[in-house]
Amino acid sequence: MTGLQFPLATDRLELRHFERADVALVGRYHMLPAVQRYLVRPTRYQEDVAAAVEIMRGQVCLQRPGDTLTLAMQRKGDKAVLGHVSLHWSDATAGQGELLFAIDPAYAGGGFLTEALTAMLDLAFGHYGIHRVFVRCDGRNHHSAKLMQKLGMRLEAHYREHALFQGEWDEELHFAILDREWQATSKVHPLPLRDRVA
């Protein structure tokens, strides 16, 4: 697993490791209630944001199962940090990975996540040789669901009232895509060859 170079460039973004100085930028979105759900840990206060950035700063590669790679979505040009994307290697023998992400609502809807997640799927399948990647999302978050479908992911599960989240019944969707399915759909958003990670 050599030859991987950060930052990864997409059309409009650079996906780079987190730095300590990102705390202020990350604080813009990391404490919002809508963002909490799939974070490594809930962040309610500014101190929590610093701790979360510290954790994300350490997530620089996948070496063993259980590891997570987290990259900041930095816009080219103005260098704004729009959010982050993570690939969690959940199971080695069965080659399973999970994608997690958060975006500052101020930048949602601009296709940035599609770009970043496409690069992460290329990374998961092309570089890390993962067999299946899945994503969990809030059943009431239609933007996430549409985004997953746009990426060519299949809806595998729709759990209703299977858990409590912040005191309310939770609804959760699982989307997944297999390595061979990604080969077939990678036309969705082709990256320039030089930006590919393999």
Partner: protein
């Protein structure tokens, strides 16, 4: 808080009762078979393994902590024949979630015994244990099991493909579930 049900449960044709030491051979009769084990996590059990399983089950009659199982023997009331087993697992205390499972002897398939027993156990889960949601899982190829789930009125919530390895191949799994308000107790 825990749940300590009154046992046995009597249905039209069946008695669902705790396991006893004398059940080992009856359990071996079906758990020892390859065809029964095909879609179970366990392989076919030896006599010693059955004895151990029965030993554990004797105590699995109530819940005191998340993860605890109630495992009951399904016995034909008329002839006192043990024909299978059912389990109800406490998956979450705060969200009141349970998981149900079943294994019956092939000689007694196709007569609605599993439906009758599972239906009584769903009653127990919703009414007795005050659960909010009960789910069941099975291999996508295990048609008799997911058809049983559909017969019970459970909804298919998940279809996972190649999400794990199972007995040397890729696993494909269904998850079915029923909510308390969807279930008609006693129905």
């Amino acid at each position: 808080m825990g749940f300590y049900p009154d046992l046995p449960i009597i249905t039209q044709r069946l008695t669902l009762r705790p396991f006893t030491r004398g059940d080992v051979d009856a359990v071996l009769d079906y758990r020892g078979r390859e065809d029964v084990a095909l879609y179970l996590f366990d392989t076919a059990l030896s006599r010693e393994e059955c004895a151990l399983a029965v030993q554990q089950r004797i105590l699995q009659t109530s819940w005191s902590a998340e993860g605890d199982k109630i495992v009951l023997a399904a016995v034909l009331s008329e002839s006192d024949t043990l024909i299978g087993e059912l389990s109800l697992i406490w998956r979450s205390e705060d969200a009141r979630q349970g998981e149900i499972g079943w294994i019956f002897h092939p000689d007694h398939h196709g007569r609605g015994y599993a439906t009758e027993a599972a239906s009584a156990l769903l009653d127990l889960g919703f009414q007795g244990a005050d659960l909010h949601r009960i789910f069941a899982r099975c291999d996508a190829r295990n048609a008799s099991s997911w058809r049983l789930m559909e017969r019970l009125g459970m909804r298919r919530e998940a279809h996972f493909r190649e999400h794990a390895l199972f007995k040397g191949g890729w696993d494909e799994e269904f998850v079915y579930a029923v909510l308390r308000r969807e279930w008609r107790t006693g129905g």
